[in-house]
Amino acid sequence: MDLSSINPTLLLASLIVASTPILLAALGELVVERAGVLNLGVEGMMITGAICGFAIAVNTGSPFVGFIAAALGGAALALLFAILTQLALANQVASGLALTLFGLGLSALLGQGYQGIKPPPTANIKIPVLSDLPVLGPVLFSHDLMVYLALALVATVWFVLNRTRAGLILRAVGENHGAAHALGYKVIRIRILAILFGGACAGLGGAYLSLVRVPQWTEGMTAGSGWIALALVVFASWKAGRVLLGAWLFGGISVLQLNLQAAGVAIPVEYLSMSPYLITILVLVIMSADKSRAPASLGRTFHASD
């Protein structure tokens, strides 16, 4: 055992990279759930984003264009979910699961011919001055654009949800769609927009995997990240700031256990891997006593005649 071989600065820096995909996807899902919709199709939207972003980045040579395509791809898949649940009033749990199945198949089909290709590199942007700071520099300010964007998105989502009228309306729709409708808000339209936003974020998260973190395309490469993002939203008790903390925790435990192994520490991998989920359940229990609970209309279908 040689713990001194673990460099905390590098560990934190790779933790930030490892947590970015689930952070992006979870932020999107947070907005969706705050609007009262439970979309279990995150995995399907992520992997669709991963291949859309990859294919377009390879063909255009620009990762930036790739990320835009990924957001569009994720949103396009989310649109299917929106049509099903908001217009055809299908059950959200079943529709979300079907969406994952569909997305995994679609991405594998789209991805034929993209195996073994290297995407154009996404440049790291060292923020002047800040990136020269000891510890904080390499940990926070020497990453690629998407990391900064994800962090900015945390702040934006928090701000919009808590400090703007649009956020207030969104939350009202999620808490009590009947009352929101009575007040004249377009429940369905607001929810569709939230779902599309969620899809775009999941798509970005997926593309971050295929363009930066892994970077390559292989079938099924999200390997359950979408499900972790779902857990993360719950862990964060539907608060943007806590999503960031949670992403570091969920991503961090994985990175930490790999580092501990490399340092020669014999660790019970399985128990460590299940700990975030047990912590999430604990958080849920504590929260139930508290006032901040799940959005009251979460997962319920809305029709104006109800």
Binding site: S5, T218, M221, T222, A223, L258, N259, A262
Partner: protein, 356 residues
């Protein structure tokens, strides 16, 4: 045999007879555990299938099914191939072992070939590659190339096959570089690109400048490229990462074996066998050693390859001790296949423990 079982096999035989008449082509089936586009394990098996098609042309028809889960679904998939008139079926993952044996007992006229397993029957052969021979060569190159003297190893599951690879690589790295140290991470998956990438990054962060992997995706290659360290292709050549970070590779080349076994079925000379082939017959190939490796080291590596191929050198040759210091092989003694197949210990010098 109970009456019901006789009836059952009669029903099966009936189904078989129906198709056997319509056949004149030899039909060869493949059951894959992953997608054919995984870039590693399944990809190479599918390359073997394509080689069979090319070699025999119109005489042979091949069918395959990808991403077949091990267990109940595998048994059905194999059965359905046998029903559809396959004459020879390759099941290409360890987890298909019992399913293959079960189906084979119902279709005595169909030949089965199970990769990496150890259960045979009159119509079931097993085959596997001596991957550790390639590991020895990788270990040699790695030991010579490392500057930090830290070599990172991404391992899948603590099974003999993987442990054997770690030992073979370590012995030969240590032989050329006594200061070398191995850091091993067990990721408990054969295929999880993000996790493999994280594991590679963790190893690199802790000073490794050579990455060996026993998992199937190319994610560690990409991580190595980003960090500017060297790596080796696994199962497949992974040539898209040459000349750096990928300096060489071990390739499973199943084509010669698949062609030979198909030929045996066509000739009617097929027999149940246990094959464990290495570099010599070409089942294990060493991918081109790139120019990033100095010519002298490359020559040494190729010389070792020739010695292994000719049978003059065995990668597990004594004197070798087990990790706890107890003697394993005496001077000049060569490990027997039984010990290698059940290998559950590290050799002396490796510092970590094998997880239990």
């Amino acid at each position: 045999m109970s009456l019901t079982r006789i009836l059952a096999s009669a029903v099966m035989a009936l189904g078989l007879a129906g198709t056997a008449l319509a056949e004149d082509k030899t039909k060869v089936g493949f059951i894959y555990v992953g997608p054919i586009g995984d870039g590693g394990w399944t990809y190479e098996h599918d390359q073997g299938r394509l080689a069979v098609e090319e070699h025999f042309g119109d005489k042979v028809e091949t069918v395959f099914q990808e991403s077949v889960p091990e267990g109940a679904d595998a048994e059905r998939a194999i059965t359905q191939m046998a029903l559809q008139g396959a004459d020879l079926i390759f099941t290409t993952s360890f987890g298909y072992m019992d399913s293959t044996i079960n189906v084979a007992s119902k279709f005595p006229d169909v030949k089965f070939e199970h990769a990496t397993g150890f259960k045979t029957a009159d119509n079931v052969s097993v085959y596997s590659a001596r991957f550790y021979e390639g590991r020895a060569i990788q270990g040699h190159i790695a030991g010579k190339m490392t500057k930090s003297n830290v070599i990172g190893y991404i391992a899948s599951f603590p099974i003999p096959e993987v442990i054997r690879g770690i030992n073979a690589a370590y012995i030969h790295a240590k032989a050329v570089n006594p200061d070398v140290e191995f850091k091993v991470i067990w990721v408990y998956t054969w295929f999880d690109p993000p996790k493999e990438a994280d594991a590679a990054t963790a190893l690199i962060d802790q000073g490794a400048d050579v990455i060996l992997q026993h998992t199937d995706s190319t994610a560690p290659q990409a991580a190595a490229e980003k960090a500017g360290v060297i790596s080796f292709g696994q199962a497949s050549d992974m040539a898209e990462y040459a000349p750096l970070p990928r300096v060489s590779s071990i390739i499973d080349n199943w084509a010669p074996y698949y062609i030979a076994r198909t030929q045996a079925v066509i000739d009617g000379s097929w027999e149940s066998t246990e094959t464990w082939d290495g570099i010599a017959p070409g089942m294990v190939e060493i991918g081109a050693i790139s120019d990033a490796v100095p010519a002298a080291i490359k020559a040494e590596a190729l010389a070792m390859k020739d010695l292994i191929a000719s049978g003059q050198y065995h990668p597990f040759t004594g004197p070798l001790n087990k990790q706890d210091g107890t003697p394993w092989l005496a001077e000049g003694e060569v490990a027997d296949d039984g010990t290698l197949l059940g290998m559950d210990f590290y050799v002396e010098g490796l510092t970590a423990e094998i997880p239990q």
